[in-house]
């Protein structure tokens, strides 16, 4: 009975099984293939780290049924003897858009004049932002591309993961087996293989938001919050995007970051929501590998190593920076550096100009230190693991898909040939396996004469050289389907007549015999015998070991561009002797005074201090001040304006700090030690600030102040009204509207907070959270402002909501309302003398700082400009000219006062025992036009030094010279080059509008 039951179950199961596979058949009888295919005598690399010598592989129905060394072979088998050839799992590419067409860009920047702007989403029933498209199934537009598939197959791929490369959240990808003969159903391994993301907008919509990288990051965060909120069922309307996002939650999440730094940014967003993205990198991970490792992410790495720049024209070669030259030199080490640091990564063909470059690039990576096993894993087991398909893909094991390569030698060796790539049990011939290696020298005996034949080249396309004695004869060889035909000219060059020989190789490739046709048409026979190899060293061995030089790779610097340090500066203990010290404290300016810095802090200020082991620097005739602080900077950022909404309180510059900006170094050379990177002025409520110490070479995280005071940029006037850029469709268009916008947001924030505090569930809104902080005095406003009416307005609005505006920045008409500002308690951070560039600065006067200062407003002078920030001491000195401010107070305009405005004056801004050792040693009076920063010190570490700067210039010249020579060598060796190019970032000012599409 029990048995019967079991049988029934089996029958049912079988029935079900077959039921699923029932297809009507009208073109003949049903032919079921129940046979096995067996590959024997192979070296089977079951995984990158294990192999079976003399192994047998058995497949059936597209799957592996057995693999091992002494395994029984079923009777109904087709047996293929591989005679020592190798078997590997076919490759997997985790990141492609195979078979999917990306929608065309609708062209033009959203900020070009006359551009039509969509402020709203264009879809209904989906998320409020068109660039969030988790509901996209790649399947809806997928079309299997036989031609492209063949290209992948030829390179060794069996499976690719493909997706719609469009939008920030891009929806689900497909896992496709490259089975050209198979059915769509067979090929589709998964229609929900992964979810794909990026920081780039969708081409399908012109919805403006987000315009910036930080906007994209903020949007992603909000989406995750919203998806969580949606699951609580409190949302009345249907949102198909959020439903899809929640559905996709457990899929592998693949993030196309495209650069190291964006990878770190993506990881930061993911961490906040406990999502570990697999990151599609940029190939520059090697330059700050510790940060990459700290993400704990698995990476998908492109191999688009840059081509050498063509530096043969020295005038044009100028364009190429040391940083780009170094990247050319170092990029091939990226895979090996990742591997040596224990970072798991797969390799993708994404970004390769053509798929056939893959093997060359891998070989190059191996030449630059990548281990072959890791290379193999990155194309097989790792991608399978990323996609959660290790059970059926990436290795040769029972139950896995019969996706495997048959190769002549080990993969990634110089003379290896891939013969066949089997995908789902179907054979694809890449190179004829039966072709024998006939290269070598032969002695041909024909009609009593002896000839020398030398054969070289690819086995499938050999070249022959025929000699009669010392005379070279014209010849042509053809080798196909085991048959060789060789035709050659007569030794007598005056006659154009040919001799042909033809033979089948069979089992005697070293001894040929066959038919020959002589010039006169007579047929005869010939024999040819392969000569033993001459006693010279094997060419392969020479290549592999002795003659091949290891490529020279320049060391990475911090940052990895010109003026980068080979090691990060560390705090030093230094005693400055006998300087003029501008304390910015009650002591005022002290002459012939010593300053001791220790452990990153100011340790003592006074006469005749004891060094106690500190390094002594004679500062006689020199001046020491606190480091310069720029309240309004836009350097060192990858984005400045999120212009997509009239409020963007949800974005933060901290997300987009760019630590490798040369302007950091140049600012240090001007004595600047701290800056506030403000959001731009594209909207009334801008984004949150980043407050930085300019620790050149450190990563973004270490540049940002520890526990920084919280700031947000507000803006008024022409820019927020969009007076000077095309759009007239975004509210507000007048200063009247600006007031109401603030009132609206503050009211909404109050309502939001009330709901939040009530304990009831609420939709977390990052923008509102930020504005609530303002209302509660936990976040300070630095407000871009010009004319007096609007300055007054914001103070009145703030007073209505019972908080204080912290800083008016620019504040060019501050002098007109300085009394009101003093009464409100707001500071002013202004330009020294900018005016005249737009209508609202018509009444800007250089006496502004002096008047505000005299009225008791805490006054600072800022730059808003990478040029001016390099000489803020000069700008401060202008207050002495314009309005007669004392020199001591003028210096405070760029040191202590901005520190106060930024609420960091407990740490920096003056020379006081216990404060951070952020100092500048000046060659001269710090406000003199003739002074130069000699040393700029942050937390006790020297980040700029005139002497070191001079030395670095020499290093830069030497390194560039060396790399140029290497590039010329690459060009002369026939490698491809690219024209010289200077990478350029936009020079950000407040008004700069960037785009991310």
């Amino acid at each position: 009975m029990k048995k019967l039951l079991l049988s029934l179950v089996v029958v049912c199961w079988c029935f079900n099984f077959y039921a699923q596979e029932y297809f009507p058949k009208n073109n003949g009888v049903k032919t079921t293939d129940t046979n096995y295919t067996v590959f024997k005598n192979a070296i089977i690399h079951t995984t990158p780290s294990s192999e079976i010598k003399n192994g047998t592989l058995i497949i059936k129905d597209g799957k592996i049924t057995q693999v091992g060394s002494n395994i029984p072979i079923p009777e109904n088998s087709v047996i293929i003897d591989l005679k020592g050839k190798h078997i590997y799992a076919s490759f997997i590419d985790t990141f492609t858009s195979f078979g999917i067409k990306k929608p065309k860009s609708q062209g033009g920047s959203i900020f070009s004049p006359g551009a039509k702007l969509n402020w709203k989403a264009t879809r209904e029933g989906y998320y409020w932002n068109d660039h969030i498209r988790p509901e996209t199934s790649a399947l809806t537009t997928f079309k299997y591309d036989n031609k492209k598939a063949t290209e992948y197959i030829t390179e060794g791929f069996g499976v690719v993961n493909t997706h719609m490369p469009d939008g920030i959240i891009r929806g689900t990808g497909l896992l496709i087996a490259l089975n050209n003969e198979g059915t769509a159903g067979e090929r589709l391994l998964s229609d929900r293989s992964s979810q794909l993301l990026s920081f780039k907008k969708s081409n399908t919509s012109k919805q403006v938001y987000p315009t910036s990288l930080m906007g994209a990051m903020a949007l992603l965060r909000q989406v995750y919050h919203d998806a969580g909120w949606y699951t609580l069922g409190k949302v009345n309307t249907k949102d198909l995007s959020l439903e899809a996002l929640n559905r996709n939650k457990n899929l592998p999440q693949i993030f196309e970051a495209e650069s190291r730094i964006n990878g770190l940014r993506a990881d930061k967003v993911g961490d906040q929501f406990n999502i570990q993205y697999t990151i599609v990198g940029g190939g520059d991970e090697y330059a700050r590998i510790d940060k990459v490792k700290a993400t704990n992410a698995t990476y998908i790495i492109p191999l688009d190593f840059p081509e050498a720049y063509d530096v043969s024209d020295p005038f044009m070669a100028n364009l190429v920076s040391l940083g780009d030259m170094k990247h050319w030199n170092q990029a091939p080490t990226n895979p090996s550096v990742l591997s040596k640091n224990g970072i798991t990564f797969s390799i993708t063909t994404h970004k390769l100009k053509k798929l056939t470059d893959l093997n060359t690039k891998i070989m190059k990576a191996i030449e630059y230190g990548l281990d072959k096993k890791t290379a193999l894993a990155s194309l097989t087991t790792i991608p399978a693991q990323i996609l959660g398909k290790s059970d059926v893909l990436g290795s040769i094991k029972k139950g896995a898909y019969a996706n495997f390569l048959i190769t002549e030698n080990e993969l990634f060796t110089k003379d290896n040939i891939i013969f066949e790539n089997w995908v789902q049990g179907r054979k694809n011939i890449i190179n004829d396996m039966n072709i024998q290696d006939i290269n070598g020298n032969y002695e041909l005996i024909l009609a009593g004469k002896s000839y020398d034949i030398s054969i070289s080249g690819k086995p499938s396309a050999p070249k022959a050289e025929v000699k009669f004695g010392e005379v070279s004869l014209g010849s042509k060889i053809d080798y196909k389907d085991d048959w060789i035909t060789l035709t050659f000219t007569d030794a007598d060059t005056l006659k154009t007549q040919y001799t042909s020989i033809v033979t089948a190789l069979g089992n005697t490739p070293k001894f040929w015999s066959g038919k020959a046709i002589l010039p006169n048409g007579t047929e005869t026979t010939f024999t040819a015998k392969k000569k033993p190899k001459e006693d010279t060293l094997d060419k392969k061995d020479i290549d592999a070991s002795t003659t091949k030089e290891k490529p020279e790779v320049l060391p990475v610097s911090y940052p990895n561009i010109a003026y980068g340090n080979s090691k990060l500066p560390v705090p030093e203990n230094i005693l400055f002797k006998n300087a003029t010290v501008w304390t910015n404290e009650i002591d005022g300016i002290l002459v012939e005074t010593d300053v001791l810095i220790k452990n990153g802090k100011i340790s003592a200020v006074g006469k005749n201090l004891n060094a106690n082991g500190a390094k002594i620097i004679d500062a006689t005739g020199k001046h020491i001040t606190a480091g310069i602080i720029d309240e309004h900077s836009h350097i060192a950022a990858d984005a400045i304006n999120e212009a997509g909404h009239n409020s963007s309180a949800e974005v933060t510059i901290e997300d987009v700090v760019f630590p490798d900006d040369i302007n950091i170094y140049r600012n240090l050379a001007g004595g600047v030690t701290s800056i506030q990177i403000l959001h731009g002025s594209a909207n009334p409520i801008g984004g949150r600030s980043a407050i930085l110490k300019l620790k050149w070479g450190e990563n973004a995280e270490n540049l940002i102040y520890k526990n920084p005071p919280k700031f947000i940029k507000f803006a008024l006037g022409e820019n927020v009204k969009q007076s000077n850029w095309g759009s007239t469709t975004r509210f507000p268009q007048t200063r009247m509207g600006v007031e109401q916008l603030f009132i609206d947001y503050f009211d909404r924030a109050k309502a939001y907070e009330k709901i939040k505090l009530s304990g009831k569930p609420y939709r977390k809104d990052i923008e509102m959270e930020t504005i609530v902080e303002i209302l509660n005095g936990q976040r300070y406003i630095s407000c871009h402002s010009y004319v007096q009416s609007e300055i007054n307005m914001l103070m009145k609005v703030a007073e209505k909501y019972d908080f204080k505006v912290n800083t008016f920045t620019h504040i060019l008409e501050g002098y007109k309302v300085a009394d009101k500002m003093a009464a409100h308690g707001v500071g002013g951070s202004t330009f020294s003398d900018w005016w005249g560039y737009k209508f609202e600065v018509n009444d800007a006067i250089p006496y502004n700082a002096a008047i505000m200062h005299n009225q008791g407003v805490i006054t600072a002078i800022n730059s808003d400009d990478a040029e001016m920030s390099r000489r803020l001491n000069q700008e401060a000195a202008k207050s002495v000219k314009y309005g007669g401010v004392s020199e001591e107070d003028a210096l405070k305009f760029v040191t202590l006062n901005p520190a106060k405005l930024l609420h960091i004056d407990d740490r920096v801004g003056s020379i006081k025992v216990g404060k951070d050792a952020d100092l500048v040693l000046w060659t001269d009076h710090p406000l003199s036009i003739y002074t130069k920063a000699e040393k700029t010190i942050i937390d006790g570490a020297v980040y700029f030094d005139l002497v070191k700067d001079k030395a670095m210039r020499k290093t830069i010249a030497a390194e560039k010279n060396k790399l140029s020579t290497m590039m010329l060598k690459a060009k002369n060796s026939g490698l491809k080059t690219q024209p010289p190019k200077k990478k350029e970032k936009q020079h950000f000012k407040c008004e700069t509008l960037e785009t991310i599409n």
């Binding site: 920047s109 561009i561 737009k838 209508f839 008047i851 000489r871 000219k881 003739y930 024209p979 350029e984």
Partner: protein
């Protein structure tokens, strides 16, 4: 009566607040400035000096005590006297408010515009122009922008009722923008914003060659139909007018030198010329002067020395190239008053202070071809000079007490000083 008083008050009020500074009257008596440190503008300095000027011209310069004072004496002991600073390649008076199109007159449409004359649009009553004088900038070369040949510049003094009175050298030179050897991607069109070799460079140079060849022919033409652009090149072609070539890259500069030789152009001045320091020998051999790029700029290339813009003019001067500085670039009009501090910055980075002064006085005059009457404190030249409390190249001490243009005692007030005083007064109540 009461009404009249109101009117008078109103007039005075507006006179003080909205109107521009009134140009001063001609010099009526001889003036002697004594005791000051005279910075001659040619590298020399006289510590305790006397400078006498009459009828707008300098009649004596020497050591105080050696020459008898004449007319009104200004005791300037402890003070410094400088020749008026010169701002070459400037758009002062052509644009009032950059962002307001209605006030912009610096760039005509078309590519070859040598016939377009800047002097016509020069607004002598610009509020920006008057803000130059309190910092010692008293002379400017008003230069059109845009196109391949932007137009013809004129040199003006900065205290005048109208452009005609302002001009001290009308149509002094033609300005040409040499094609760039690099081209930049249009980032706003979604292109890579980087620079690449300009594929059209040769084609663009050939266009210039063709224009010049055509102009040469047209000038000889006897036809009654005149080709205005071609005829406007006459001075350049016969060597009576300067050709200012705005160019930056080393290769382009070398091409300009060859171009000048081929066309026998005798008076060539390079403008901006960021990389001129790389070809100083060729510049010297061919007697080509440079109006160097503004020192207050960021280096063009990531790998450049941080102080390259600061020291660029020094590198040229050290090598013996005739060089002055100019201030074209962002906010070039309002920032032109910082010209002295730009020269000061060059001094900070290694140039002797008096030589740095030459970059905005004597050398500028030589390069613009106005050195026979301005640029230095020398007998026979215009009394265009000023007295500063201290070193005029340093912000802290650039404090003008008196300034003269052609001997006229000019106002040192401006829109800015008026607002300053107005609001200072408000708060002092």
């Amino acid at each position: 009566m009461k009404n009249l008083i109101y009117i008078v008050v109103l007039i005075t009020f507006f006179g003080k607040v909205t109107a521009q500074q009134t140009p001063s009257n001609d010099q009526s008596e001889a003036i002697s400035i004594t005791g000051a440190t005279a910075h001659i503008g040619n590298g020399e300095i006289i510590e305790n000096s006397i400078i006498i000027f009459e009828n707008g011209k300098i009649t004596a310069v020497g050591i105080n005590g050696n020459i008898t004072v004449k007319g009104k004496t200004i005791d300037a002991s402890g003070r410094h006297v400088y020749p008026g600073f010169i701002a070459p390649n400037s758009t002062l008076g052509l644009v009032e408010i950059g962002a307001v199109r209605a006030t912009d007159d610096d760039s005509e449409i078309g590519s070859f515009n040598p016939h377009i004359r800047s002097i016509i649009a020069y607004n002598a009553e610009s509020k920006i122009v008057e803000s130059m004088r309190p910092n010692g900038v008293l002379i400017a070369q008003i230069t059109p922008r845009g196109g391949v040949i932007s137009g013809t510049s004129s040199v003006v003094q900065l205290d005048a009722w109208n452009w005609e009175d302002a001009s001290i050298k009308t149509d002094d030179g033609v300005h040409m923008n040499w094609p760039n050897i690099y081209s930049q991607g249009r980032w706003w069109m979604g292109e890579d914003p980087g620079f690449k070799p300009n594929k059209k460079y040769t084609e663009q140079v050939v266009q210039i060659e063709n224009f010049l060849a055509q102009a040469k022919a047209s000038i000889k033409s006897t036809s009654i139909h005149k080709n205005l652009p071609h005829h406007a090149m006459k001075g350049v072609l016969d060597g009576s007018t300067r050709l200012y070539v705005h160019v930056n890259a080393e290769k382009a500069i070398l091409d300009v030198i060859t171009f000048a030789k081929e066309h026998h152009l005798k008076k060539i001045v390079l403008v901006d010329a960021y990389e001129a320091y790389k070809v100083v020998d060729q510049l010297k051999q061919n007697n080509i002067a440079v109006l160097s790029s503004r020192p207050h700029k960021t280096p063009n290339f990531e790998d450049d020395d941080y102080d390259l813009p600061y020291k660029n003019a020094k590198l040229l001067m050290d090598a013996g190239v005739l060089v002055a500085i100019q201030n074209s670039g962002g906010m070039e009009r309002s920032n032109a008053r910082n010209l002295p501090f730009q020269a000061g910055t060059v001094a900070a980075h290694g140039l002797d202070k008096e030589k740095a002064l030459q970059l905005i006085t004597g050398n500028s005059a030589k390069i613009l071809g106005i050195d026979q009457f301005v640029g230095t404190l020398e007998v026979g030249k215009d009394a265009t000079l000023f007295i500063s409390q201290g070193d005029a190249l340093d912000m802290r001490t650039n404090l003008l007490e008196k300034a003269f243009i052609q001997g006229r005692d000019i106002s040192l007030e401006s829109h800015h000083t008026k607002l300053w005083k107005r609001y200072s007064k408000k708060y002092s109540k």
